[in-house]
């Protein structure tokens, strides 16, 4: 017996819209069963996971802070993935942007000017874009696989950052600890709203999402991206260059990842450390797909994923469950979202006899 996925002739619009809701409901049910098996009240557990973090202002701010890099990177990646360029190295571009932007507050720390912050952001964007330019160049001119090259460059960026903060950029007054000097207030990204810590990184994320959404929907560039992504041949007939598209999509996603990197460092950490990201660049890939590669969907997906992190902490405290439960919960959510989406587009077909299957195929 074999299981096959067969494309449905027509995709139900209703279920396409409902799919995330069904997935969320299934996650709740199975999550509830898991909590029941752990001997916890599933209602309180789900409350502390999904509702508690939304009940307080400070917690909403934390949600925005956690979601900002995920959205910013995810939005950039959506352009890449839509155009069939598989940039897996956003984590590296995030770090490259953070390093490039930190040149000013770390090396030229005595320069205090209102120009510092805008220049930092610009350098961050450039750093991320240049770093993504490496796999773009390799793919466009040498036809290398960008999945491999962009992924491998993540380790290069991580180790370069590690070397910097232990070596030339180490804080001279920091007792040999591997970290740079802390940023001067002129180089710190200001808070957006008076009520809490949310910095402008979140603002950038929303702006980028809206801008990219607009581009994809209303501009020729957006059309070009979609066409080249779906069929390179058709794109060429329309006069679009897939080589230029490699450059465009990789540089754009690199720039946004770089902006996320410098925003995170300047807004939230205020110094460079050996590790500045708990894997935002990789989680953003999940966010991009969870948002179905739609920039506005990615905003929602980023917030949902951030919520599970915060909810996981709340659950650790109010229920005393291990933080591993959070991971299981995120896994459940992704599993159901992806399987719901798949099953709406495909149906499962059980093929009972392997032999007849091959025989008929052969006869065609």
């Amino acid at each position: 017996m074999r299981i096959e996925l067969e494309r449905r002739p027509e995709v139900s619009r209703l279920f396409s819209l409902l799919s995330p809701v069904i997935a969320l409901a299934l996650t709740m049910i199975f999550g509830g069963i898991m909590f029941l098996l752990l001997g916890k009240n599933p209602v309180t557990a789900l409350y502390s996971f999904f509702i508690e973090p939304l009940m307080e202002v400070w917690s909403l701010h934390e949600l925005a802070i956690k979601a900002a890099p995920l959205i910013l990177i995810g939005v950039g990646l959506s352009v890449c993935y839509r155009s069939n360029n598989w940039n897996i190295g956003a984590e590296g571009q995030f770090i490259a942007g953070a390093i490039a932007g930190s040149i000013l507050p770390v090396v030229f720390y005595e320069w205090h000017s209102p120009l510092v912050l805008p220049l930092m952001l610009l350098l961050g964007i450039l750093g991320g874009a240049l770093f993504a330019g490496i796999p773009a160049f390799l793919k466009a001119h040498l036809n290398t696989n960008e999945i491999l090259t962009s992924l491998m460059l993540v380790y290069v960026a991580q180790l370069f950052l590690d070397w910097l903060v232990r070596g030339p950029w180490r804080n001279p007054g920091g007792l040999n600890f591997p970290e740079t000097r802390t940023f001067d207030p002129v180089s710190v990204l200001p808070e957006m709203i008076a009520s809490g810590r949310t910095h402008w990184g979140f603002g950038f994320a929303i702006l980028a999402a809206v801008a990219i959404w607009f581009m994809m929907r209303y501009t020729l560039k957006g059309f070009e991206i979609t066409v080249l992504g779906q069929s390179e041949r058709a794109g060429r007939f329309a006069g679009f260059s897939s080589r230029k598209m490699i450059w465009f999509s990789m540089l754009l996603s690199g720039a946004l990842a770089g902006l996320a990197g410098i925003s995170e460092v300047s807004g939230a950490i205020q110094q460079l450390r050996p590790v500045i990201s708990p894997g935002y660049g990789f989680t953003a890939i999940i966010v991009a797909f969870l948002g179905r590669l739609n920039p506005l969907g990615i905003v929602v997906a980023g917030l949902v994923l951030a919520l599970t992190y915060l909810g996981g902490e709340a659950a650790q405290l109010s229920l005393g469950v291990s933080d591993k439960v959070t991971r299981v919960f995120q896994g459940l959510l992704l599993f159901f979202v992806l399987s719901c989406d798949t099953l709406i587009r495909y149906k499962i077909k059980l093929v009972w006899s392997n032999l007849t299957g091959t025989a008929t195929e052969g006869a065609h």
Binding site: W58, K66, D162, R166, N176, F177, E313, L317
Partner: protein, 356 residues
């Protein structure tokens, strides 16, 4: 309107009062862990301390913890969450939580904070650390007795004062037994990475060391030592299970004593900010049983431990020279804590260049 305001104010006052009253007879003590509470090393030692605290103070105390908290903005959020959830006393147990703890402490002046191994304090923020180097001095003496070749291998994490201090203490102890004793150092650049630590152990053994010690947290080096048939020292937790025929002793972090002392002070309303740096004497650091060694070595180790405990012996006492041969401490002179806390030089006998 005025009445409502008054009523609200009274209610607030009553709530405030009852909160204060309950804080006096019951304390909520919270912990932030960088790793998993069952990591077999650093974080587990802190969690055992938390459990001891619960056992010792019974229903006068309630504890909570957050584990696997990454350093950076996540730490800030985790600490703030604890501060908001009614914790009166919060222990943040990794150096990397320092700036996050400082920020949140400034925001919540009524909550008391304690940060492990850092150097920034505030009126409501204390720091605490353990004189691990006292144990390493004893290890050095044992190593010098056991080693045939007079060379020990040292798997180090990061070139921060804490670790450099440990290396120097080990060599100083060893040289009281064998004045020509040397150590080789490998920087693993990690606190917790079984693969890297095992590689470092293999590299050191291949270079001819015949006793191994580590300032990283996994049992991997102990296992490599066991495979290669040399002796080794455990770190942070008793690692005897990883090397029943291998472990000579281990430096065991026993934070419980400190947690009990500070929580009691908090309950009594006598908590004050300090920079505490206790050692063997105060029970914050204990030596795992001395095993796999001849009786005379064991007797020597026990005698040294007793002397450090009584204060008769201070590991860093002259005459001591720096690695370049210049004098550091004159005969009879002991190092002050300030020098130790900022230590960025080697003493004589270390076969390595300190990464600067």
């Amino acid at each position: 309107m005025k009445k409502i305001l008054f009523a609200l104010a009274t209610t607030a006052a009553v709530i405030g009062f009852s909160a204060a009253a309950s804080a006096a007879d019951k304390a909520k003590v919270c912990f932030v862990y960088v790793g998993s509470k069952t990591d077999g090393g650093w974080t587990q030692a802190h969690d055992l301390g938390r459990q001891e605290l619960e056992k010792a103070l019974g229903d006068k105390v309630e504890t909570q913890f957050l584990e696997n908290v990454p350093e950076g903005p996540d730490a800030e959020r985790a600490i703030e969450r604890l501060a908001r959830s009614g914790c009166g006393l919060i222990f943040t147990t990794s150096f990397g939580f320092m700036d996050a703890t400082v920020k949140i402490a400034a925001k919540f002046p009524d909550v008391k904070f304690e940060h492990a191994t850092g150097y920034k304090t505030a009126p409501n923020l204390a720091t605490y650390n353990s004189r691990f180097y006292e144990g390493r001095y004893i290890q050095g003496q044992i190593a010098a007795k056991i080693s045939q070749k007079g060379i020990a291998g040292y798997i180090a994490s990061f070139p921060i004062p804490e670790v450099v201090m440990g290396i120097n203490s080990f060599v100083t102890g060893a040289r009281t037994i064998n004045p020509d004793f040397k150590i080789k150092v490998v920087w693993a650049n990690t606190w917790f990475d079984p693969g890297k630590e095992a590689d470092a152990a293999k590299a050191l053994i291949d270079q001819g060391v015949d006793v191994l010690t580590q300032h990283t947290d996994t049992t991997a080096p102990m296992q490599v030592a066991a495979e290669r048939g040399i002796k080794a020292f455990g770190q942070a937790s008793d690692m005897i299970k990883a090397g029943p025929q291998t472990q000579l002793t281990a430096i065991v972090d026993t934070w419980g004593a400190y947690y009990i002392k500070r929580t009691q002070a908090f309950l009594d309303g006598k908590w004050e900010t300090t920079s505490s740096w206790d050692g063997l004497k105060d029970g914050i650091l204990t030596m795992a049983p001395y095993t796999n060694m001849p009786d005379d070595v064991k007797a020597l180790a026990e005698a040294t431990e007793a002397k450090i405990r009584s204060g008769e012996l201070k590991p860093f006492t002259g005459p001591l020279k720096k690695q370049d041969g210049s004098e550091w401490l004159k005969a009879g002179e002991s190092s002050d804590d300030g020098t130790l806390l900022g230590m960025n030089f080697y003493v004589e006998g270390v076969d390595d260049k300190l990464p600067q």
